[in-house]
């Protein structure tokens, strides 16, 4: 029997630092809710808005798979491995922080805010050599399909990470129905609605709602209107 956990958008933690507004699905920094620590290996899902010209100064990370998905605007990235890059909507960035990395991330536009999802997964190995990658998403505009953007496999579509996780983005037209088959027993799926209204196994979800589902082999998704969402399949035990 599938089990679920529902996180309505208005129950997320909120951090407002002026230059940064962050809506946090799980406990993060100053937001601590013992009932909202993680969904399996998914530990951080921050829905961030960075004011024009502002950003995160140089700061460290270790032992975490860190994925950034820009939703609008552009972010400038620099890190201690010598990478300098910018990412924008339609791209995805991944860092395996491993033994340690320093990086900074700034809004590349002085006026317009940059919006992006910051997602952290527990790695399946500690103390790996740090690595950075970014990719332009293939088939991002494909409608009524799941578009894989992340996997554990370097040869598969999207970026790869040190975890048995698969991410898919989807843009559904109204009425489209599709089943998502999980890749691996023991995994669960966290559905995060970017925009619109959908039904997941009969549960209604609206913009920025999240629903975690586990103890199941597949989930059924129906769009109640034009909708976009992110599916994050992660191990529940890791």
């Amino acid at each position: 029997m599938a089990q679920t956990v529902l996180h309505r958008s208005n129950t997320r933690g909120v951090a407002d630092h002026g230059w940064l507004k962050s809506y946090q699905s799980f406990s993060f920094a100053g937001y601590y809710n013992p009932d909202r620590i993680n969904f399996g290996a998914l530990r951080v899902l921050n829905d961030d808005i960075v004011t024009g010209g502002m950003g995160f100064g140089e700061h460290p990370h270790d032992n975490m798979e860190i994925i950034s998905i820009p939703l609008s605007g552009e972010l400038h990235h620099a890190d201690s491995m010598g990478n300098k890059a910018s990412i924008k909507a339609g791209e995805i960035q991944v860092m395996s922080a491993g033994t340690g990395i320093y990086h900074s991330e700034y809004n590349g536009d002085n006026k317009e805010p940059a919006k992006f999802l910051q997602i952290w997964l527990f790695p399946n190995q500690r103390n790996v050599q740090p690595r950075y990658d970014q990719q332009t998403l293939k088939n991002e505009d494909k409608v009524n399909e799941f578009v894989q953007i992340l996997s554990p496999n370097p040869d598969d579509d999207g970026v790869w990470i040190y975890q048995d996780a698969w991410f898919n983005l989807a843009n559904f037209d109204e009425g489209n129905v599709k089943s998502y088959e999980l890749h691996k027993p023991g995994n669960g799926v966290y559905v995060f609605v970017l925009e619109g209204d959908i039904l997941v196994n009969g549960q209604a979800l609206a913009t920025r709602d999240g629903l975690g589902i586990w103890d199941t082999e597949s989930i059924d998704i129906k769009a109640l209107g034009s909708a976009s969402f992110l599916l994050m399949e992660v191990p529940m035990k890791f």
């Binding site: 013992p34 700061h59 460290p60 270790d62 952290w120 103390n127």
Partner: protein, 113 residues
């Protein structure tokens, strides 16, 4: 030297600072984590960059929590060594390298609100 006392965090919280032993080999990141822990007025960090110095600290002092940071090749061996000398020692592996998860990890490990 760090003052030490009961390892019961609730009692310790009332009487003194909660002592936390930080272990990790990435010096720059450990400096950041030490600064963040010490920012919390009721917590006090002791930081070791090697398993050897950490074991010395553990034999001399009591800590409410041991937090294992990045870069140690032998962290599972270290946990076994700690459990051998202090079976009830609370130990948590740190993830993230900064403020994002640190406070939650410590609060969760110590059962703090």
């Amino acid at each position: 030297m760090i003052a030490c006392g009961s390892i019961n965090p609730q009692v310790f919280f009332m009487e003194n600072k909660i002592q936390i032993l930080l272990i990790g080999s990435n010096e720059a990141i450990m400096a950041t984590i030490t600064r963040l822990v010490n920012q919390e007025i009721s917590w006090q960090a002791t930081t070791c960059l090697s398993t050897e110095s950490a074991m010395e600290q553990l034999l001399k002092n009591d800590f409410a929590l041991v937090l294992i940071g990045a870069g140690l090749d032998d962290e599972n061996d270290l946990i076994l060594k700690i459990k051998k000398v202090k079976p009830a020692q609370r130990i948590v592996k740190h993830f993230g390298g900064g403020s994002g998860l640190l406070f939650g990890e410590i609060k969760q490990a110590l059962g703090l609100p």
